[in-house]
Symmetry: C2
Subunit: 423 residues, 2 copies
Amino acid sequence: MPRSRPRNALYAQSGGATAVINATASGVIEAARRAAGRIGKLYAARDGILGALREELIDTSKESAAAIRALRDTPGAAFGSCRYKLKGIEEDRAKFERLVKVLHAHDIGWFFYNGGNDSADTALKLSRISVKMGYPLAAIGVPKTIDNDLPVTDCCPGFGSAAKYVATSVREAGLDVASMASTSTRVFVLEVMGRHAGWITAACGLAAERAGDAPHVLLFPERPFDEQRFLARVTRSVGQRGCCVIAVSEGLRDAQGRFLAEAGTIDAFGHRQLGGVAPRIAALVQSKLGYKTHWAVADYLQRAARHIASRTDLEQAYAVGKAAVAMALEGKSAVMPVIVRVADRPYRWRIGEARLEQVANRERRLPRAFVSADGFGITAAARRYLAPLVAGEAPPSFRNGLPVYVRLRNATVRKRLRERFDP
Amino acid sequence: MPRSRPRNALYAQSGGATAVINATASGVIEAARRAAGRIGKLYAARDGILGALREELIDTSKESAAAIRALRDTPGAAFGSCRYKLKGIEEDRAKFERLVKVLHAHDIGWFFYNGGNDSADTALKLSRISVKMGYPLAAIGVPKTIDNDLPVTDCCPGFGSAAKYVATSVREAGLDVASMASTSTRVFVLEVMGRHAGWITAACGLAAERAGDAPHVLLFPERPFDEQRFLARVTRSVGQRGCCVIAVSEGLRDAQGRFLAEAGTIDAFGHRQLGGVAPRIAALVQSKLGYKTHWAVADYLQRAARHIASRTDLEQAYAVGKAAVAMALEGKSAVMPVIVRVADRPYRWRIGEARLEQVANRERRLPRAFVSADGFGITAAARRYLAPLVAGEAPPSFRNGLPVYVRLRNATVRKRLRERFDP
């Protein structure tokens, strides 16, 4: 018997926001609107999976086509995201069952979960438990992370824009430092994200195209920090060109595996100082070598910098959103659209398909072949991989000199379940 | 008796680089080239006034028209700059006399000094001593500083681009924080430059156009830090909207006038920790209020960010360079072209003229009327002043996804003086 109304769908954003995660949202929503006869309402969970657990659903049909289009140009996570990891099905059974209840109450047949490997894991478990509970659900993962550490996919939407931001920033700051070094700062340190994998650190290396260009030293989280070798390298750089520009991963560790940023620091208030490996490296250089130093910590700026997003990244972010809906309509579940690299030069890519179990809870490290023999730079192979990912510009529109970012109405759907659930 | 050859000119860059100081250089050089019959060679001092003292002069005629044009799009100081302040004429007589000797040796009749109030002072003194020594010299100041603290001029080339960068960054990071606050960072702190005047801090306020927009708290260097009032304000912001985004000046001081960034901090290496008021504010919030915090320090990124330069700023930077040459050709000396605001809306400006003695060693503070009554925000008057300065985009060209910045040949002129001088 044919259903009188098509089933609804739910989209949720997970983990750290990126400059282009909303482009993926835009891809999902526009594709779902085009499939109006087959997909009913497309809801978005407020604050990620928490909204699904709390039955806080946003009706995306209340947003205009222009607003959904403007999502492509807006950083942050427009429906809210969260850091909230569900554990095993047995351990977190009550939560998984609650999720299925909420989906059921709103007749949701498709779940699109936009995040990293934790989210792939949650989507996979949800698809399994729904089978067990006899509730028909297609769970589709949609990739996103600036850390670029998902397996199977050639790259992760969000990474290319962060990469473009850090490479641009280190190139610009490098010119500044070089022009002042004779009487001012000789050593500049930029701290970038990527706690466990050095993809963003490696991307900084793209800024150096000619001999002597900044950055002169990269400090990867994969390589234990060797103070003596590092200081020798800085000394050589300053000797050769008057300055040394360093990009360091927030996840830099010492030989004992301890994060440098977490070494105990007490400030004047008697408070434990928060992270910051850049000031630590700068202090080390200043005290051991006597050079004047400056340092910057990009922090959220690097993952929110939509104004300098990579067009390639933006297009891929949109494409995985669209592809996720296409897979759902083909009746697939427990899969994730991925980026397949067809060629390096000229760069060509297409959308492929991974099973969620290939992605869930697995990390892809930076290949050893991407780090130069001395451990302080990137190789030609790294460049070949990275360069296409930052290619192309896609500036947002500007009004009064500042980028225009959309704010959605985010109208909440009336709850249908009597029970409340506060995870 | 008419001179057989026109006299030469010297251009020097001084103090901190900006995103657009090279646009000023481009304006000077292009105008000098157009006046070829009246101005001979245009030299540039390597590393600012130090190059003039050392007789390290660069022959700008060796650079192609395309390279000089590309200077408009290149951050840093293309000929090198320095932090080197000449003292009084009596105290530093040997240096001033050396300068005149170098100028004389290269038949330099015009000196263009591109910098802040220190540079205006040096140019003024040089014009005075040259008169005393019977050496005809026109000394023209050309304004530049991201700090926006020069008197007379309505604004300073370099400031508008730094302002656009910080306002854009705080808007972007603010969206990121807002979308994650329910389970992650509630308080985000961005540290910006401007040690003595809160112009850049005020510019962050431009990002907030609607109620609730980031930034929610500005901490100005002019307002002593009041911990209790600040913490109450953060608590209220988090209560109202789930998060609080703070922009803080590197020059924030306590009630005793001490810089917060200089409070003694010792890291794990036993080294004194370098500056950083953002981590200090974040640690304070975390320990007193228990909110999760993140912080960023933009440092040189904000003054080198040519990729997000203000078109208004760029045009003004170029215009003051061109105007400086025009003033020189009119036979003027000890003057500086300045920006005169003709109207706010629509914004109109023209080039005016200041005497160097009006500019030398004087600072313009942020008007009290620009800071809101509670001390944590900006007023409508501030907005009216600031908004036009960030208006318009002027992106550089990109190649392989990154901005293309020119590197000059910087060919040095053969020395003519036997004596060496190492300041």
